[in-house]
């Protein structure tokens, strides 16, 4: 099977359709899971999307799900839905490697709380995905488990750090997946692989027991083919049991959206990205939405706060690894951990204090908007093995370019989602990013669904 034939297979329906088919006995979970496992067997040696595959367990759970549907006793909205999870999430069976040599034989023997939630809702965990080592980069080129390949655009980066999860979903090796995001690690690979990536509000999804990158910036969330599937997953992952997929807190469902755009952000974009984003803005105006300009607070200082927090918390978690196992840490990750170990506690606390002021300031500047809109990246999606890429600042390291618009939502904790568009930049995908300047994930999903349906489709 050629890589180009693997991407976005039309025979994978959305979650609601699958569940409907299960209920009507038009499809059964066991056959479907067998199909996906065969596809993984065929494709994974090239894509390197999975580190571990739970074949026997998945088949057993699929059979049980089929029996529940026959008895009309489905467990929940994900019963029989095959999912992929990033290999930072502990599972009762198999290793939890975090993509690292140090943890390659680590077997926690328990499920992370959100894995338990997924299982209780009937989801079938097909396996655990490859990633940038310790979730610490944007390429998902892993020294132990190989380089993840982008199934939609094999010459381009799959993005990271949740690159294996995005590759698995894009290639139809899972219906949807769960990744983690500390500075864009859900949204970046989703945008590279033409998927939807949702970083929920900080604290909405329980990240406890996941191998951390930086505790106060880490988020878990879905990578899916469409917004509706992201909503289904979030309704199960979310900490409160009160939310369900049909719930909406949106009082403005049919009114024009008030959208904030920072023109200084556009100045950071390459000309091709600016052109594509302008087309999106024009379509939004045509659809009657209200676009207004605003300015972020001090962009560089905000970025430094995110950087200091990320480096310091990472170095804290990895202190023992740094002292005893530095040789086993990826050469590209090691300088970040060393840098974090050389930041003082007072400077870290200053970063946290400044984070609070920055967030408060941004909230005041954006509170009149329903959402803030950016391109996902200021550059095209980079080719594999590219070190620098063109942005509005000139050539920049790929790592810096892909994180450029991502970190604010990790610093503030606000929910943020990337949506693919039909537009192309340098023959690669072009995605936009919506951020809700508050904490309402389901309102953000409502708005994303409106744009997905009403605006982006018109750009084709």
């Amino acid at each position: 099977m050629a890589l180009s034939e693997l991407a976005i297979l039309p025979d994978i329906p959305d979650i609601a359709t699958l569940v409907r088919q299960y209920h009507r006995n038009e499809r059964n979970p066991l056959d479907f899971v067998q199909t996906l496992l065969q596809r993984i067997e065929t494709a994974n040696t090239r894509l390197r999307a999975y580190i571990t595959v739970f074949e026997d367990e998945a088949l057993e759970r699929a059979q049980a799900a089929g029996e529940r549907y026959r008895r009309q006793a489905a467990l929940g909205p994900l019963d029989g839905i095959p999912l992929a999870i990033k290999d930072i999430l502990p599972t009762v069976n198999g290793p939890t490697t975090a993509g690292s040599r140090i943890l390659q034989d680590y077997r926690p023997g328990y499920d992370a709380p959100i894995v338990g939630r997924l299982r209780q809702a009937g989801a079938i965990i097909l396996g655990k995905n490859n990633l940038h080592e310790y979730a610490f980069g944007v390429t998902s080129d892993n020294q132990c488990f190989g380089r993840v390949i982008n199934p939609v655009h094999p010459a381009l980066l799959p993005g990271g750090s949740s690159g294996g999860t995005a590759a698995a979903v894009a290639a139809g090796l899972a219906v949807a997946g769960v990744g983690s995001d500390t500075g864009g690690s859900i949204r970046i690979p989703a945008a590279c692989c033409e998927l939807v990536g949702l970083k929920p509000t900080y604290g909405r999804v329980d990240a406890s027991t996941a191998i951390p990158q930086a505790w106060s910036l880490d988020h878990l969330g879905p990578i899916t083919r469409n917004v509706a599937d992201a909503r289904q997953l979030l309704s199960v992952l979310t900490l409160t049991g009160a939310c369900d997929a049909d719930m909406s807190a949106n009082p403005r469902a049919d009114e024009p959206l008030r959208i904030g755009v920072d023109p200084s952000g556009l100045a950071l974009c390459s000309p091709a990205v600016r052109d594509a984003f302008e087309r999106v803005l024009t379509q939004l105006r045509t659809n009657g939405h209200q676009l207004s300009e605003f300015r972020h607070p001090d962009w560089q200082a905000g970025f430094r706060a995110w950087l200091v927090i990320m480096l310091s918390e990472s170095a804290s978690y990895h202190a023992e690894n740094l002292q005893l196992r530095a040789r086993d840490i990826d050469a590209g990750v090691l300088p970040f951990l060393i840098a974090g170990s050389r930041i003082s506690a007072t400077h870290y606390l200053d970063a946290q204090r400044y984070r609070r002021l920055w967030t408060r300031d941004l909230h005041q500047r954006t509170q009149a908007f329903d959402l803030v809109l950016n391109p996902a990246f200021p550059s095209a999606v980079p080719q594999q093995d590219t070190h620098d890429i063109l942005t509005g600042r000139g050539l920049e390291p790929v790592r810096n370019a892909l994180v450029e618009f991502q970190w604010p939502a990790n610093l503030t904790g606000w929910p943020s989602i990337t949506l693919p568009t039909p537009l192309r930049v340098a023959d690669g995908p072009f995605s936009i990013m919506l951020t809700h300047p508050g904490c309402d994930d389901f309102l953000l999903l409502d708005m994303a669904e409106r744009l997905e349906r009403q605006t982006l489709a018109l750009l084709a």
């Binding site: 900490l239 409160t240 807190a249 200082a301 400077h347 200053d350 204090r353 904790g413």
Partner: protein
Amino acid sequence: MSNDQGGPAAVPSVALDVTLDTAQRDLLDTLLALANQPFPAMPPSGAGPATIYQPLVDIQQESTNGTVRACHPA
């Protein structure tokens, strides 16, 4: 160590069992130069304590009301 005194003092290096190559040293130097710049002046009490580990979602309110509400994290 305050913000108006030119940034934080150096922290002693951790002893490592590896030697960094040139590219790694360059990256490390770049990261430290960027990270160790001081933050803009902050009012003595204006920023308050850090918000580490504080979820931004009001779980109790959602559980009680059955609705998702926007909350103000700042």
